[in-house]
Symmetry: C2
């Protein structure tokens, strides 16, 4: 199907928006009136720019407060409409959106509304323009799609049809089955937006919190299925008002937007994408660092050994059990020092995984390899983290084995990876990991950092062998360099923590008050508590089991966590995160780090 | 009355919060459990720190899900409570907050709730602790203050009382008159928070959008009056959960918080402050600049003349009609170049105005003057703008008259000043201008900038001779250097614009599409429209009259606007702001400014 996006959904000048929409692969745009008014380009120049960019102008919007008004007011409205039709003619746009009136002058009279819309359509016809009438959820007298359709049906004019908008329909909880009663050729346009399920004033909700399909809580796909059954043949068009997108760079937002429509088309059977290939484990995590010394010291204290080195690149493989960490001194490292740059995902079919990622607009990375290296398919996640799809252990043949063996066997694999997302792109990250990698998003949780609230959401595969925790600040701060971390699974966190400390490692100190509170909340033995206190081990329980964990100091932007999950505990110790964050801030205040 | 603030209302570590509260003048704090758990200080050390800072610990909070539960659960709760009472004993806190239960285990049985709270109070009594029971607005069975009070009354225990919280009471729209039925000595604590009037889920509303009294839409003063009539003698304590405050620096937030309680006490007659002295006009606006050349050229083209210079400082006075602009090359200028640094307000009683400002915690500025200069009382607004209170024209005696006369008489006074506020401090700015200066806040409006939404709110005196428009981004951006502006009132904007252009000035270009739209919206003559097009004049109407305005180019961070208000137009042309902002961004993109 053709895809389109309203210019109001993107940030920047009109030409920036058009460029971003075109680059992301949209076929057309809805031009929002305010974007045109503020543009120095004439309508003819905008038309030419769109043509150059391969974009059609699918809708001009909106016209407001047109119908069901007194005759003198309607005469003024027709005069205004003529101006706009002339403009649209210059623009080469053939469909205009008319929103149901919110004017205090409007009367509750469907017959009058139909008659006046008929007159408007007559005028539009002279300009070769179609009028798409849409019910705003907060329309004064017309606020549901079926009511708008009844008026259109009554008006019975060939150039008058209806526009359906998923936000207006789903925010009111309307029954979407009724959509199938509308003949497809009378649905002139379909606007799509999702939204988080918030109980708030619908106008505010609509103006500030819409998001792309699949990022919110609405069943947009369900609605689209009903629309498609009518025979609707117009574009799927995104109209998203969102305070965050207004600020974000237009290019990535447009890509995110277009991806959401591809996923939606797959969901409704309107497009076939390469099937999802869910990763089955974490092959490795790759750190880039300007200085191997502190990372090596930390990994050594954790019981890892440098077991191999890459034949052609400055990359070492550190290993313990099935946990593998690559330490790469090749690329230049951005500010903040050592960081988690790449993740290797075990994949049953790497080529297919990469193919799906590419189809879903993930940037495919050049294979930085020597001719003899094993090919590795890789794409970039929205936060810039590189994701490698590893089909077998063949990638390890690029590494030359060293004689070292790990000093310990406490750690058996990577439990999870925690990635701080750039502000503006949190919902995008979730949709990416869900649609591209086929991971399941868990509930989003709020975490109080001493200097601001964080939101955190994990994405996992079915057996929990791949877990990625995505975190973002509730608002951007200057503290853009937040830490990422690698959590290592152990069956005995106490032994692992002791060993780490004996090997010279420093665990993050945990305040005594925290452990006093544990004593109040749980029936732990004195000995157990004393051990947790001594080592700085944190404790959590959920409906399934128990979680015990502790943290290393931070190197650059990265730190490690040792975690022990017992009896099927499913969480990530989010309850303890504020204590960890406060301790990390306190360390920074002391070390100036 | 004593004032207190919950540590959760401020950003930072516990000790940062305590320091900020003390410096802002609070008498005490409520210690929020999570802040204590994350602190490396022992309870005894926290107690000592508070004592050093002159702060009492008025409340420890919260205890949750205590009452109306099965016996075995209640036994566990008592065990937990004992731990917390021991902690409070170490902390020297004698009142604990118990929130009504949200637990799925809680049953709808007031008698059981009363009996268990009685037992809890018995235990608390052994530690010299009072229990304050509060209804959460989303409590499972107890969600209103009168219900919580009935349970407390039934329990009839000397160390059990109730805690009233303005958010929980006012968010439910409860009738506050009933508060007077509670004996004052049984109101153990009073927590205050305001909130904007949002129709949204009450838990989300409470957790993220609370603000300080006078910053939101609740009648907090009305509630407090009822509480005081009961004989309540405890502190007024702020408990504000707000995503913005969590990020903002604790120091200014604490000052803002304390100011809100001072204003509240004045409103309820519990404290006498120096009376407000409303300014009666704008004496001058002062620009600081590293380079007088571009500013002088701009002022000259606008028809201003340099009519005087300061006897002892590098400050020139430029004048036209009653519009006076000081150009100061003395202070060092922060990044962004020329900026609006100070406003001179005509005041019927400058000393009293300054006295009130100081009583309301506005920083009083040192009088930077030579011994022979006229004294000028000045304070700093939250955004750093200096506000001078000018009693007469005596300040002009510091200036030596020059022989120049203004080239024009188009401009007769300063219509308004527009100040961009730092993110985090928008509500603070409004409360400051209202309470310190006695100005009236107008409705807040959203303005779409191409790169993000802005919020704008004007504060004015009764006759409109002082108007200040406060603007803030809906979220912080990198573009922290947004422009401020000075709007100059004229009776003939067309003549003024023509003169400016003839004098070599550059008006901001306005897209032709904007004027095409004017033609569609209003019945303007072709000649009128042509004039607006030629000059770049924007047009707006409200219920009262007509507004025509145009903009100069920007110098540093400052630009000028020429405005003509006819027939009592009250607004600021907010409708046209997106067009202006887009044009300014386009200019910057061209000039690289």
């Amino acid at each position: 199907m053709r895809t389109s996006i309203a210019t109001v959904s993107l940030s920047g000048s009109l030409t920036e928006k058009l460029t971003a929409a075109s680059r992301a692969g949209f076929d057309g745009v809805e031009i929002f009136e305010n974007d045109l008014l503020a543009s120095p380009l004439t309508p003819e120049e905008i038309r030419a720019r769109c043509a150059d960019l391969g974009l059609t102008i699918d809708l001009y919007q909106p016209m407001r407060d047109i119908e069901a008004v007194p005759a003198d007011e309607f005469a003024r409205n027709l005069r205004r409409a003529r101006h706009k039709f002339e403009l649209m003619h210059r623009l080469g746009a053939d469909t205009v959106l008319v929103c149901s009136s919110v004017s205090p002058l409007a009367v509750d009279d469907d017959a009058l509304a139909a008659e006046q819309l008929h007159q408007l359509a007559d005028l539009a016809q002279d300009f070769g323009i179609r009028v798409a009438y849409e019910a705003l959820a907060w329309g004064r007298h017309v606020s549901t799609y079926d009511h708008a359709w009844r008026i259109v049906e009554t008006a019975a004019h060939p150039t008058l049809g209806t526009c359906l908008d998923s936000f207006h329909i789903l925010s009111r909880g309307s029954d979407v089955k009724g959509i199938e009663d509308i003949p497809g050729e009378k649905i002139f346009f379909l606007q799509l937006a999702d939204a988080p399920l918030l109980a708030m004033d619908v106008l505010q909700w609509s103006r500030h919190y819409r998001c792309f399909p699949g990022q919110g809580g609405f069943d947009v796909a369900g609605l689209v299925r009903h629309v498609l059954r009518t025979g609707y043949a117009g574009p799927l068009s995104l109209e998203v008002f969102n305070d965050v997108f207004r600020q974000a760079e237009a290019g990535p937002t447009a890509v995110d937007a277009h991806r959401s429509l591809l996923v939606l088309q797959e969901a409704v059977g309107a497009a076939a994408l390469p099937r999802p290939v869910v990763p089955t484990g974490v092959a490795f995590a790759e750190l880039v660092t300007p200085d191997t010394e502190p990372v090596s010291a930390l990994l050594t204290a954790l019981g890892f050994a440098r077991t191999a080195r890459h034949r052609t690149k400055p990359v070492d493989l550190w290993q313990q059990g099935e946990a593998r960490i690559l330490v790469n001194t090749g690329p230049s490292v951005p500010r903040g020092g050592t960081q988690l740059a790449a993740i290797g995902l075990q994949s049953p079919d790497p080529a297919a995984a990469a193919e799906r990622a590419e189809a879903l607009l993930a940037p495919v990375l050049p294979r930085r390899r020597a001719p003899e290296d094993a090919p590795l398919d890789a794409v970039a996640a929205p936060d810039g983290t590189e994701l490698f799809f590893c089909g077998s252990d063949r990638w390890r043949t690029d590494f030359e084995h060293l004689a070292h063996t790990p000093a310990a066997t406490d750690v058996h694999r990577i439990d999870h990876l925690a990635l701080t997302q750039p502000w503006h792109h949190f919902d995008e990250a979730t949709l990416f990991h869900r649609s591209v990698l086929g991971l399941h998003p868990q509930e989003s949780v709020d975490v109080a950092d001493p200097y601001g609230l964080l939101r955190s959401r994990a994405v996992t595969n079915a057996d929990g062998s791949v877990r990625i925790a995505l975190t973002v600040g509730a608002a951007p701060t200057d503290d853009t360099v937040r830490a990422q971390h690698i959590a290592l699974a152990t069956d005995d966190v106490i032994a692992a923590a002791r060993r780490f400390r004996e090997a010279g490692g420093h665990l993050l100190p945990v305040p005594a008050n925290y452990h006093d509170d544990l004593a109040a909340r749980y029936d732990l033995t004195d000995e157990e508590l004393k051990t947790y206190r001594d080592l700085g081990i944190l404790y959590d329980r959920d409906a399934y089991g128990v979680f015990r964990h502790c943290y290393t100091q931070t190197v650059g932007r990265v730190f490690f966590e040792l975690v022990q999950r017992d009896d099927g505990y499913r969480g990530y110790g989010a309850q303890n995160a504020p204590v960890r964050l406060a301790a990390q801030h306190a360390m920074k205040a002391v070390t100036g780090g």
